[in-house]
């Protein structure tokens, strides 16, 4: 991934985001609304759990045989008149796309389904050649105009309200205040007029894709606005950047995801636009089609027993919408194209550990994400596994000194819990040692890393007798034949 936008670490970015009351209200409003609708949309299908397991099985099978299906995809795409390019990493993918765009000699390209291209910062790479990439998904356009990265997989402008969007459009489309209200229909209309011109002028389009079907070499985009269809039909040249995990073997497999994806993401039974294209066709659609297959850390993830399941993800964003952490801090705090629970496991793996060791800690492990995931990715378990690697890697680098106070405390606690004798000694020590912080039976203003706790919560003082003391006394009384306590 690009280093250009190296963000603040999560534990610093998150509190800043939390302080933005408007952001929190926008996020809470939207995530709760989608959450409730998603629950209804999935409950409607009696075989939801079976579909979920089928999706998981299809993805697992495909991932186990990824080489086979990718080669088949390549053969079919080429047979249909398209060109396939293999990119090991972001740089290679960007180089390929830049070369293809330069060959067309254009200064502007239209884009849709930009997540994979955002992952490699393609827009930044194109800008180096003086090429402007216009995002045509409405929400992507909004964040592009705001010069911000997307904040949500599906609703990139989730954090923006109408008034903010109106201000952006006034500037970008050169409108006077009386020409544009903050009515959603008016805002959408203004964007539509702006985008129509771009579509009609563009000779090159760049897209991502949701799926690619190996058996026919067909690429698939599902969307709500129809702008994707414009991008994939109007320009002469279409360049699609696809993460290698997005291939599915057959059309039959697609059937499962075309049910689970819309219901999980927008809570719709079916998304309004589903576009397929296979190579090129004389007189219809693009005359040149290029498919760039991006690895970008995916093979390494695939090689990992635990992490592999991450690649099942179909980017529905259901896990973001139920995540209590995402709901509070939004997407930017994660500093990654993929925020929320999926981002917390995908990003560190794609980037290569131990960098980004912080993201796997951005969770309480509550498990809500696993519950909703339409391909049953056990995100909490992967989070814990990534934490283990982070700690192991840090220790390998610095064997002796503790990294921080939490590290020291955990190591100390592990030593204290090793034997019952040490454990009981530590228990007594804690009881005695707490004295300076006890006020009216409550621990206040705790030192070091515990300050974060006592800033917002009370903690009752450690009582005089532990359970084990009570039990011992009771057993002793019983042996003496006395009344049990």
């Amino acid at each position: 991934m690009s280093d250009a936008r190296i963000p603040l670490p999560f534990h610093e970015a998150a509190p800043a985001a939390l302080e933005d009351g408007q952001l929190r209200r926008n996020l809470a409003h939207v995530t709760h609304a989608i959450r409730a609708k998603r629950a209804d949309a999935t409950a409607e299908l009696p075989d939801w759990e079976a579909l979920r397991q089928a999706g998981k099985a299809i993805k697992d099978h495909t991932l186990r045989n990824l080489g086979t299906y990718l080669r088949r995809l390549e053969t079919r795409v080429e047979a249909a008149g398209g060109h396939v390019h293999w990119a090991r990493d972001a740089d290679e993918a960007n180089r390929i796309v830049r070369r293809l765009v330069a060959a067309e000699g254009v200064r502007e390209v239209v884009k849709v389904k930009s997540m994979t291209t955002d992952e490699i910062d393609l827009n930044g790479a194109l800008a180096e050649d003086g090429v402007v990439a216009i995002e045509t998904d409405l929400a992507e356009l909004i964040v592009q105009l705001a010069e911000e990265p997307p904040s949500h997989i599906l609703v990139p402008a989730i954090h923006k309200n109408r008034a903010e969007i109106r201000r952006l459009f006034l500037d970008a489309f050169d409108l006077t205040p009386d020409q544009l209200s903050d009515d959603p229909a008016a805002l959408a209309g203004a964007a539509r007029r702006f985008l129509r011109e771009r579509f009609l002028e563009a000779r090159v389009a760049i897209s991502g894709a949701n799926f690619a079907v190996a058996e026919t070499g067909t690429t698939c985009i599902v969307e709500s606005e129809g702008n994707g269809r414009m991008c994939t039909t109007l320009p002469e040249t279409l360049i699609t950047v696809l993460g290698i995990e997005k291939v599915v073997p057959t059309w039959r497999d697609l059937e499962v995801f075309l049910q689970t994806l819309p219901r999980s993401s927008t809570a719709e039974r079916m998304n309004p636009y589903t576009s397929f294209w296979t190579g090129v066709h004389g007189g219809d659609g693009p005359r040149h089609f290029h498919l760039v297959l991006l690895d970008g850390g995916r093979s390494a993830t695939l090689a990992d027993d635990v992490g592999r399941a991450t690649l099942r993800c179909i980017r529905c964003s259901a896990c973001l919408n139920v995540c209590p952490i995402y709901e509070r801090v939004g997407g930017h705090a994660y500093g990654s194209t993929y925020p929320g629970p999926i981002g917390a496991i995908l990003t560190p793996q794609l980037r290569g550990e131990p960098r980004d060791g912080e993201l796997p800690y951005a969770s309480t492990l509550c498990g809500a994400c696993y519950d909703v995931c339409p391909v049953a990715i056990d995100i909490p378990s992967i989070l814990v596994d990534l934490r283990r690697r982070t700690v192991d890697a840090r220790r390998a680098a610095h064997p002796l000194p503790a990294a921080d106070a939490v590290d020291a405390a955990l190591r100390g606690a592990a030593a204290a819990f090793a034997t019952p004798r040490r454990y009981e000694a530590a228990q007594r020590l804690a009881r005695l040692g707490q004295a300076p912080w006890v006020r009216k039976g409550v621990l206040r203003n705790l030192p070091g890393p515990l300050a974060g706790w006592s800033d917002a919560r009370d903690l009752r003082a450690i009582p005089r007798r532990a359970f084990r003391d009570w039990w011992r006394d009771r057993e002793a009384a019983r042996e003496r034949g006395g009344d049990p306590a």
Binding site: F10, H11, A14, P15, L18, R24, P324, I325, R328, V329, Y361, A362, S363, T364, L365, C366, G367, A368, Y370, V384, L386, R387, R388, R389, T390, V391, D392, R395, V406, L410, R411, A413, A414, F417, A418, T419, P420, Y423, A430, V442, P449, L450, A451, G452, W453, D455, A456, R457, D458, L459, R460, I462, P463, R465, A466, F467, R468, D469, W470, W471
Partner: protein
């Protein structure tokens, strides 16, 4: 006569002994013969969840040493039970220790969360408790999602004499504790807690009940800081109560 061994996690032992005492009272009232292996220390949940697996390994070994012979192990903490049942096998496997893996496989299926033990093993939902108060129930994440205790705690609460159960708005939302999460990301944790406290107050109950004392420690800490009169009680404490009933 059923026999069970008590697993009293370190933080319950040290900070909330009354929850474990209540569990003892309920189980003995139901005729269970209990023992408390005093050698037990800590299941290692905090270490496992924070990535300190290597430090947790000796604790895993110690746990199966202590409880290897038990018929059934019962604990008043869903998250600790979840750690034992879900994390131990992987830890043993990664440790490359087949003997440990075998001991884990033999021991962990016998470890139960308190409400699971009552409803599944003893087949009891009415434990003869009496608690004439308004109560709301917080379904702790690990109890619901990792252990799948379902509505067992609610079945038990509904059978309590005089107890008035009120629904907790947005009950399934995490309280924001998350072990070291509360320390590493205290601001987000506090924001989640604030919402949970507001929901609890909205339920207009006298007592919040859960099957996990760690969530209650967090929620109770927030309620107390706001000087509300709402108390937290472990499920076992409510079930042990016989208010107004002649002993």
């Amino acid at each position: 006569m059923p026999r069970a061994s008590l697993f009293v996690p370190c933080y319950v032992d040290t900070l909330f002994p009354e929850a474990a005492q209540a569990m003892v009272r309920v189980l003995e009232r139901l005729g269970v013969t209990l023992d408390f292996p005093r050698a037990q220390t800590c299941c290692g949940q905090m270490h496992v969840n924070t990535g300190y697996e290597r430090d947790a390994r000796p604790l895993v070994r110690h746990f199966v040493d202590v409880f290897g012979d038990a018929d059934v192990v019962v604990a008043p903490s869903a998250s600790c039970v979840a750690t034992v049942r879900h994390a131990y096998a992987g830890i043993a496997e990664r440790a490359g220790d087949p003997a440990l893996a075998a001991a884990v496989a033999a021991t962990t299926p016998r470890v139960r969360e308190f409400s699971e033990y009552l409803v599944d093993d003893l087949g009891v939902t009415d434990v003869g408790a009496s608690f004439p108060h308004t109560v709301t129930y917080h379904p702790a994440c690990h109890a619901v999602r990792l252990l799948g205790v379902g509505d067992r705690p609610l079945q038990l609460l509904r059978a309590v004499d005089g107890l008035h159960l009120r629904e907790l708005p947005r009950a399934e939302q995490c309280c924001g504790f998350g072990g070291t999460f509360a320390i590493k990301n205290p601001e987000i944790s506090a924001a989640m807690l604030a919402d949970k406290v507001a929901d609890v107050l909205q339920a207009r109950a006298e007592v919040v009940v859960a099957a996990d004392e760690s969530c209650l420690m967090h929620i109770g800490g927030g309620l107390a800081r706001q000087r509300t009169a709402v108390r937290t009680m472990h499920l076992a404490e409510v079930l042990a109560s016989r208010e107004g009933v002649a002993a």
